[in-house]
Symmetry: C2
Subunit: 241 residues, 2 copies
DNA sequence: ATGTCTTTGTGAACGCGTGCACAAAGATGG
DNA sequence: CCATCTTTGTGCACGCGTTCACAAAGACAT
């Protein structure tokens, strides 16, 4: 996923495998729900089911954090919420800037899931002068000329890019130069970043294309496994249109 | 990522590994850009660099599709665009419904990346009667009561869920019952689906939390590896910049 | 035709992630 | 205090994905 920094020891983050890190937010969400229902403890089986994973995997994941469970009983919900939050760094406040206030940028600015987990929209930035000063989600949009100042004064280290593809790399470079070291990229572009900068990519078009691939296969299987096989392989892909 | 169907043979899709499928859209995008610049052929090295991957990986990926390259020369851009498009099922038209027309749903409806790759927004659906009839991205929003009819008459097999978390599972079940077999879920919920249905999940909050984790580690390393144990563990990753 | 040079296609080794299966740990009841 | 029962924590094996490194294939010049 990430473009920068993916070729590093990877799993060396204090020994916590990347795959485990990616699941921690999932567990945290399930645990938060339990906490709101005042459930005191939960077994690996129950929690795994709520998070949509296998219980052995969950136990192994937690084992990387330490031994927080009690055999014969399960895990203390509140304690685990705290431990995972701490591990993920959610006990502190993360100011975030969103660059590119189009439909998607506005949607993100309005997204409630941010504030609830230690993230705070510190600024909205757009290149269009007509947008400057407009209120989006209760925050005034600022012009991209002020990007560096905004990053510095706000102590921002996480940036979200929701610009068109063409502008993404340039925006990325300015963000990085100003001190941002983590980027969430929604633009359909491969970002090139220096060592030490993390990039995660979310690409709607790619997700749909992957679904289409499987959808096509299912449709083909349905009508007798027509797509793939080797009746000599190659020409079978009928493709009427 | 996907919740349903992840425990199947996985790589059995006519022999194409899942990891490769996930990269094909990336290659396709890079190739399309080359095609627009009328570049006739491209080497694995160049294309890999444009797609942000390793050239050996790219060659192995393509080898699953067949031998479409010419040794000493490289790959024919147009031909490869066609082959990958066909493999991904993008030579046909995929009608898609979006359920939940809030900020995010509207943003997706307006997203240009859909139409360009064989996807067509067939309908926008929302549970709020006040939304019914409103035009979003030039399409009239329909009420969720008509969901089944819309799916059937439109021959829709791909659904995008952008509802609040609480409504997602129910919407999902209705979509599946109506015949949808691929779902792209933006709601912060683990969807449970029957065998044969593919679910892919996009979760903004999770992506940010993963970034926060790495950000915290970088900050800790900077000030002398204060966060995580073991003064004898991994101090070597100095990472000066 | 032959040799050289470029680039593909792939066999093989390695490493990460997953899941099984069980021993260790603790709770609980008599 | 002991037996039993539940549930965690983990050693181990297996499989997928990545990467290396090189032989085979073709282009191109002479």
């Amino acid at each position: 996923m990430a473009t920068g920094r993916q070729h590093r020891p990877a799993t060396r983050s204090r020994g916590i495998p990347e795959a485990t890190v990616a699941r921690l937010p999932l567990y945290l969400r399930a645990l938060t729900a339990l906490s709101e229902r005042s459930v005191p403890t939960v077994s690996s089986e129950e929690l795994a089911s709520a998070a949509g994973v296998n219980s052995a995997k969950l136990r192994k994941d937690f084992s990387y954090l330490g031994s927080y469970g009690t055999r014969g009983v399960g895990y203390d919900v509140e304690y685990l919420v705290y431990q995972i939050s701490r591990e993920l760094g959610l006990t502190q406040d993360w100011p975030v800037v969103i660059v590119g206030i189009g439909n998607l940028g506005a949607a993100l600015a309005n997204y409630g899931g941010f504030a609830s987990r230690g993230f705070r929209v510190a600024a909205l930035i757009d290149a269009d002068p007509a947008m400057t000063g407009k209120q989006v989600a209760g925050i005034a949009v600022q012009h991209v000329d002020d990007l560096e100042t905004i990053i510095h004064t706000g102590g921002v280290s996480i940036g979200v890019i929701t610009t068109p593809g063409g502008a993404a790399q340039q925006v990325c470079e300015r963000l990085v130069a100003a001190g941002v070291t983590s980027i969430l990229n929604f633009a359909p572009t491969v970002l090139t970043v220096p060592e030490g900068v993390d990039v995660r990519k979310v690409d709607l078009s790619i997700e749909l294309q992957i679904l289409a691939f499987h959808e096509q296969r299912k449709a083909a299987e349905e009508m007798g496994g027509q797509v793939g096989r080797e009746p000599g392989d190659g020409e079978q892909a009928v493709m009427p249109a």
